[in-house]
Symmetry: C2
Subunit: 353 residues, 2 copies
């Protein structure tokens, strides 16, 4: 539990719906949090803006006021989803990528679980994605070469970031029944960068401050390409997977596909001092505004956020209510082959709370 | 047809089994080629070495003699698979990555098809992977920073390489019934490098020399993470996919998982003047030496190689024989839940030729 919960009279939650269906599912998560009543400190919501629409309106995708409010006036936050321009737009840069870095939310934790207990294959894994570096440092250049334009991007992997994401991954693996951690890399090609990632993560159990705590965690490795292959062929082999940023992005979408819908997969962006829930799905422009977006990933993201803040009872109640809605299978949005609306699914969750 | 076939008295084929099961499946492909008889020019095989075992023995993973022989003494080649050391080894670097660059085999073409006509979902797609740049340029550095080691890799995307892989992809899409091309990128994060890739590929149909030929190809785009997601959820939407090197590596493994086994998926590394067949699977150390490796991906790779060289009849015969073995389902290796050996599967293919 990274934060002390004892002293809080109220819980200040930044809400950044951003674009598309983010504007439908974040309000739903807000209602679910409110409904927890006295299981959490009185929630106070801080409405904040960011995103592509924000950019087209104000010229800035992530306003300073939003970052300031998160840093100075919020205990935690929920982020919706961002749209991307369909061509390169000068000055625009993804606000979620920027936020993760600005707030030093170095771990993106994405649990993926089978929906029904009897579902085959049975999936119960967590993708722990490094959230601040790799190609996401966005250091790109372009120049005119002999044969036309040449563009270069830098992929940064540091010992420091690899160690702290490794620590987070070992901590999560250690707390789970299977205690199994797979390190994802491509060091057969990227021997220096992915070599550093692999070595550093492998070294975490040996750190003096760890004091042997993780000796019960079994360590495996998998090249990213074969990890995607195995994820489809035998997902039950995986428990916790730790990966550099881009591989983690791809792997979590792959895992989501296995359990039925991205509309179910929550995440938190976690740092040492802040946590931001975020559904893994995108802004889904094709269904935005129709009132049929699945709010379950956002409600689960709220639960993950509360759990990291130490409000276990509130988190458990949200998760159980969501599980029950899914298990009953009556009131679901179209991505799960249901016919219900966002509001109807929210109402079903609230009823089960 | 990139090469003239008219004048050849014999077909000189370099064989580089390299490591692990490569040494079992490449000899099987050789037998299958020999069995084609007069449908191709008399095959002459040139045995060549490369790989991890070669490195441990000679200190070099890709001997100069191998590259020289391919350049000066071969019309085409078959490559097996390479093992990777389990830790970083100074001086070792993947010979297949080096070969693709040395021979300027800029396109990696990986067709993935459902095994049984009735299989659901029905998959019939080609991953066209750029084969010479992206993170595979292997320009990596490491230095001591304030908080420990920092490693950097360069991701290179050039207009020239993007254009020629784009041309290859449009050519393939144009020749297929569906004529559909999906450009894979992550330009919401990598706006400069993937932006250049996307724009350049999109620009191919407008090139003066193309002369409107590709106007019948429908173009779509997909971010790499959601492409993996969709590949699992609705693979039938894809026809030809064109991708930068690393995304193509991951996507082709993902597609392979959908059709049952990597042991079925062939590829060619194609340039303007040379073609090298290569099964997509790895060296599979767990089963190497047991005589149970699936030779079908290698035989199909030989067929792809012959097809690109213009020997359509020989290629068709190999493909049909492989298809029949799979359809009969009696003589299959363990990766396809069969009990047969490499030699028995090869014999079944030869019988069906
Ligand atoms: C929107 C995009 C920048 C983002 C990412 O690549 O991290 C998304 O795909 C995610 O997984 O959160
Ligand atoms: C062995 C490895 C270097 C190679 C690659 O990444 O290209 C392999 O995964 C492939 O797909 O051919």
């Amino acid at each position: 539990r990274p934060f002390s919960t004892a002293s809080r009279q109220s819980l200040r939650i930044g809400l950044i719906p951003a674009d598309g269906i983010g504007r439908e599912v974040i309000p739903a998560a807000k209602e679910a949090i409110i409904a927890l009543g006295s299981d959490i400190p009185k929630p106070e919501f801080v409405d904040l803006i960011a995103g592509w629409e924000c950019f087209t309106r104000t010229g800035v995708a992530l306003p300073e006021e939003t970052v300031d409010a998160l840093k100075n006036d919020c205990d935690c936050a929920l982020f919706g989803s961002v749209s991307s321009p369909s061509r390169r737009v000068v000055g625009y840069s993804s606000p979620i990528v920027a936020l993760r870095k600005e707030m030093d939310l170095y771990a993106n934790i994405r649990p993926v679980m089978s929906v029904y207990p009897s579902q085959k294959p049975s999936i119960d894994l967590i993708v722990v994605r490094e959230n601040t570096e790799c190609l996401y440092v966005k250091q790109e250049t372009q120049q005119q070469g002999e044969h036309g334009r040449e563009a270069r991007a830098t992929r940064l992997i540091t010992e420091r970031a690899s160690r702290r994401i490794g620590q987070m991954a070992f901590e999560l693996a250690h707390a789970r029944p299977r205690k199994h951690l797979t390190i994802i890399h491509k060091s057969n090609v990227l021997s220096v960068t992915d070599g550093l990632f692999r070595e550093t993560v492998r070294g975490v159990p040996l750190l003096p401050e760890v004091n042997g705590k993780y000796n019960d965690v079994e360590i495996a490795e998998q090249l990213v390409d074969s990890a995607v292959y195995r994820l489809f062929r035998e997902p039950e082999v995986f428990d916790v997977m730790v990966a550099p940023n881009l591989y983690g992005d791809i792997l979590s979408d792959a895992a989501a596909a296995l359990v039925g819908s991205l509309g179910l997969i929550p995440s938190v962006n976690a740092g040492d001092n802040f946590v931001m829930g975020e559904p893994v799905h995108g802004s889904a422009p094709d269904i935005a505004g129709k009132g049929i977006a699945n709010p379950l990933a956002s409600i689960r993201s709220a639960a993950l956020m509360l759990r990291r803040l130490g409000y276990i009872k509130g988190a458990d109640r949200l998760d159980l209510a969501v599980d029950q809605v899914i298990r009953e299978g009556e009131i679901l949005t179209p991505d799960l082959h249901g016919k219900s609306t966002t509001q109807e699914v929210l109402a079903a969750v609230l009823k089960n709370l």
